[in-house]
């Protein structure tokens, strides 16, 4: 009698498929990108938060840290 909304839109079943393909391609490209980065660059990048100013005042902090 009363149908659920949208259950019968033509071709709606393609949506999840498209979504998956988009994500899968995106993920593959990302993996390729990440693993083609040079190691030296990776290390340089990961050091960024630790060298944030040349003066780098060492005041404050924890006695044992």
């Amino acid at each position: 009698m009363i149908r659920q909304t949208l259950e019968h839109i033509s071709g709606i079943s393609i949506y999840p498929l498209i979504s998956f393909v988009i994500f899968f391609v995106f993920f593959l490209v990302l993996l390729l990108y990440v693993f083609s980065m040079r190691k030296a660059k990776i290390e340089e990048l990961s050091q960024l938060p630790l060298e944030d100013s040349l003066l780098n005042p060492k005041k404050g902090g924890y006695p044992n840290a």
């Binding site: 909304t5 259950e7 839109i9 999840p16 993996l31 100013s53 840290a65």
Partner: protein, 711 residues
Amino acid sequence: MQADKFSYDNRIVRLFMIASVTFGVVGMLVGLLAAMQLYWPELNFGMPYTSFGRIRPLHTNAVIFAFIGNAMFMGIYYALPRLCKSPMFSPFLSRVNFWGWQLIILAAAITLPLGITTSKEYAELEWPIDIAIALIWVVFGINMIGTLVKRRERHIYVAIWFFIATWVTVAVLHIVNSFELPVSLFKSYSLYAGVQDALVQWWYGHNAVAFFLTTPFLGLMYYYLPKAAERPVYSYRLSILHFWTLIFLYIWAGPHHLLYSTLPDWAQSLGVVFSIMLIAPSWGGMVNGLLTLRGAWDKVQENPVLKFMVVAVTCYGMSTFEGPMLSLKNVNAIAHFSDWVVAHVHIGGLGWNGFMIFGMLYWLVPKLYGREIFSVKLANAHFWLGSLGIIFYAVPMYFAALVQGLMWKEFTPEGILKYPNFLETTLQIIPMYMLRSIGGALYLIGVFVMIYNLMKTAYAGKFIGEEYAEAPPLSPATHPEPGEHWHRRLFERRPFLLTIFATVAILIGGVVELVPTFLIESNVPTIASVKPYTPLELEGRDIYIREGCVGCHSQLVRPFRSETARYGEYSKSGEYVYDHPFLWGSKRTGPDLQRVGKKYPDSWHYRHMYEPGDMAPGSIMPAYSWLHENTLDLSDLKGKISAMRILGVPYPEGYEDQAEADLQTQANSITKNLKSEGVNTSSDKEIIALIAYLQRLGTDIKLKKTESTNN
């Protein structure tokens, strides 16, 4: 090369810090009050402004936008300039950001207790405040992107990517979900109705959690955790994967809030699948955070900053595992509408956000005041109070959810509901509600211990308002470094490109999910017997919204035998086509109201709203006696009718002029009916409108049934 000399502005960091802690205390106090009202209804104080329905959104908004929001700004305003080796783009915009945000919080703190609300969760604020939020958010964005443009560090660290994604996505979510048609300065109707409104709201609600409570704090984790541990993040590669997959996947998962609702099946399934997939990047992030401490666990024993952060990241892991589990349909069938969801958000809120904030505060205050923390012991005491608080909060809630969730579904061998009286299931879990508030109180005591410790630290030190630094200016790089491909610099160097890529990543999910639902608007089956609300019912509905009834009562009967036996026919999407906004709710502290119409006599509602305990002994519902005294305000009635017509509700042209007369007729008939049941009142009271609305709820379908049997 000559190094540039410049300074970092610590004053703005301190301002946000003070605001965050202050509103944190306020927000948690309100939360504690709301928690206690659930077993001690007298704490509603018999006043509209302090009743549960109005202060629940006050609690959620204060904690999310004032406590966590200000802490997010605090963290970013400290980390961003240092990562860019440049002061913030504009100190003036920083101040506008700060004071603007506090004004918005003030506006929320005034309007929510007054009952000025859109009723859409975490988006309750009315349209003028929505506009202010959008403006301040733009100011924040200009300041952030401007700093990136002026930066002296070529590479954009992954934390900043998270900040940018936060900014972009919150902007998109806020704007799309806030489309509403103003009726007056303090009243508006959502542009969307029913199923569509629900879909947009939970696309927003889910992603507000993702992009206001998660991504900025992941960015902060990638900065403050290495800082506190004095070692780089475990795997920078993993952080890149974490970032892109997380923002790409998160946006799709919203429909898992609407399982078994009248949302189309494909959208529900999409939400479930993407929720499960989300475990991967979330846990990738958690593992990356925890492994940063590999070989440094001895530091965790000694350093309270790391203790807080370790528990925070662990709670993030628990919460992001629990979320996907809750979105499995069989789990959701029991957990949805129960206290499980409340426990789940508090693992995230108290554990992940709260403990990250405390960790940042214990790290920042000594830095900003140039001295050691006043007492490591007190910080440890705070850590244990907070951890115990979380456990005492969450465990009783899980227990309550299981007990009540199973009682709702239990049948006797004869096939009838074992606990047909909803109240019986509520009374069963009252002790759990009491334990929960003890957990909350412990957590709050911990916060007071922290405030004392931090203030002692601050008074013993001297505030460093300007922190001097120097760095060589950025030379324009015209050629790629040797061996580097042209595309290498796309993500990690160009702020605008990064912003655009992040936007595209989050838009794909949103578009796939939302657009089909809007395109086929004409396909929504309108049920012939579903008619627009009468003017009196419309006014009653607005009272229902004002009092925050939606905080405890759902209007969505799911297609389960246990629900149709308890409440009646399950909900159909066609029933909601005139509901601007939708009022499905997300928590059943009281029973569902979708089919409450004509279930009780008018006088029952009249007496029940006056003193719930009279009609339902032991009821924990607050009394709404002011509805029996207040005169119904009709000044916006014409505006409301024409606004609804603009939104597509088929009121005939010129109906505005007739609406008030119709309203009086219906009100008089209810008063007459009440009189026959022994209640004397006049027809101009608010309660009459509310009764009209409640008695209408869900009856369209019932009427249809009667007709078909007659035929």
